[in-house]
């Protein structure tokens, strides 16, 4: 079974979407480090903020954003596989509708959070 995932484009896509979970973890760790630095006082916090503004850090954040967007996209695509059938008014909801609702919810919640943070920052 060595290298099994290279044998079929479907498996490669699976490995890519599972692999993007590492970027989710990387961003979670980045935020956790920020929280720890905040607890260590003003100087530590300002140091972390400066590190975040480093061009390399910005590039990493952009890469993480793309990877997480892809992760979310494929995560919702798996909904019809992983969820029990949803029945509304005695009719089974089409898989495409389930996936589309997930994507819509993700975009709406994402934009709402961004708006909220923007307002607090302003």
């Amino acid at each position: 079974m060595d290298g099994w995932w290279k044998k079929n484009p479907f498996y490669v896509e699976y490995m890519v979407h599972e692999g993007t979970a590492l970027f989710v973890a990387a961003y979670a760790i980045t935020l956790l480090v920020g929280l720890v630095r905040l607890g260590q006082g003003e100087a530590a916090w300002n140091g972390w903020l400066a590190a975040m503004q480093n061009p390399l850090s910005v590039v990493c954040h952009l890469a993480i954003l793309v990877a997480i967007a892809y992760h979310a996209f494929t995560w919702f695509k798996l909904f019809p596989l992983t969820m029990p059938p949803i029945v509304v008014n005695g009719k089974r909801v089409e898989p495409g509708v389930v996936v589309g609702s997930g994507w819509t919810a993700a975009v709406v919640v994402g934009l709402a959070l961004l708006g909220l943070v923007w307002r607090i920052a302003a």
Partner: protein
């Protein structure tokens, strides 16, 4: 059955005429009496546009090598016998057409993730044992006598499981599942779909017994939701959904036992 001779002469065509299209079919051969390991052999097969890959294999057996061994029966995607890896993808060879591959070479191999018995025939005994282990029959909730009449089921109750009755045991989903390849003990997609079919049946009361297997080492948690099983299923059974829904069911059982000590799995 041979074509009437008259028709052949009138059209002036025989299978080997100059206008005949020829495709190369590469077959993974394994003869347990003489071979240490499987090896490939290439055959040049004349074909017409209505010929399936199964018919290609039959042509090889009839004209080139009578020892070529493969399973088939119905030729119309209902018996589930003729599954093989066609260019690396698990497919029923009776509903896969040679014309879709021409002019490239077609490679056919025995289904992946199974031991090869001979040529394209795999050993299904492990799969049969898994099928038996899930108790694939209705275990009545309450026994009824003949005088009490039939078990009543509403269309909505019927709709809950009907999709999972369509499985033809072709085992393409096992060949598609990398987790079956990594752990041959995994109950796997088709057997789990059948298990789900009985658990979802309103007449059945065997869920508690079957859930032990669902939550066991061989059970649903071997699945990492690759989802290729549902992709290759020729009957749209969606076995991947049966497996994944039962992850939720097994988790519910695990946590709900704290609330109702009598219910759920052990």
């Amino acid at each position: 059955m041979a074509l009437p001779a008259k028709k052949q002469t009138r059209k002036g065509k025989n299978p080997m005429s100059e206008t005949q299209k020829i495709i190369e079919i590469e077959v993974l051969r394994y003869l347990p009496e003489s071979d240490q390991a499987p090896h490939s052999e290439v055959y040049k097969v004349p074909f017409t546009d209505d010929m399936s890959v199964l018919q290609g294999a039959q042509y090889i057996k009839d004209h080139f090598d009578g020892s070529l061994t493969f399973r088939w029966s119905c030729r119309m995607a209902i018996c589930g016998s003729c599954g093989m890896m066609i260019n690396g993808i698990p497919k029923l060879s009776c509903e896969t057409f040679i014309r879709d591959y021409y002019p490239n070479r077609i490679s056919i191999e025995a289904l992946a993730n199974f031991p090869i018995e001979k040529d394209l025939v795999v050993d299904l005994s492990g799969f049969i044992e898994k099928l038996e282990s899930i108790q694939p029959y209705i275990i009545p909730k309450e026994p009824r006598t003949l005088a009490q009449g039939e078990y009543i089921q509403t269309p909505a109750q019927f709709a809950e499981y009907i999709q999972f009755t369509s499985c033809i045991n072709c085992t393409l989903c096992y060949a598609a599942c990398p987790q079956v390849g990594l752990n041959p003990d995994f109950i796997g997609p088709a057997a789990m779909a059948l298990l789900h079919r009985y658990n979802m049946d309103s007449r059945d009361g065997g869920q508690a017994q079957r859930m032990e297997l669902v939550a066991s080492e061989e059970g649903v948690y071997n699945c990492s939701a690759v989802g290729y099983c549902s992709e290759v299923c020729p009957k749209h059974v969606d076995p991947g959904n049966a497996v994944n829904v039962n992850k939720i069911n097994a988790a519910k059982d695990y946590f709900l036992r704290f609330l109702s000590p009598k219910g759920g799995s052990k």
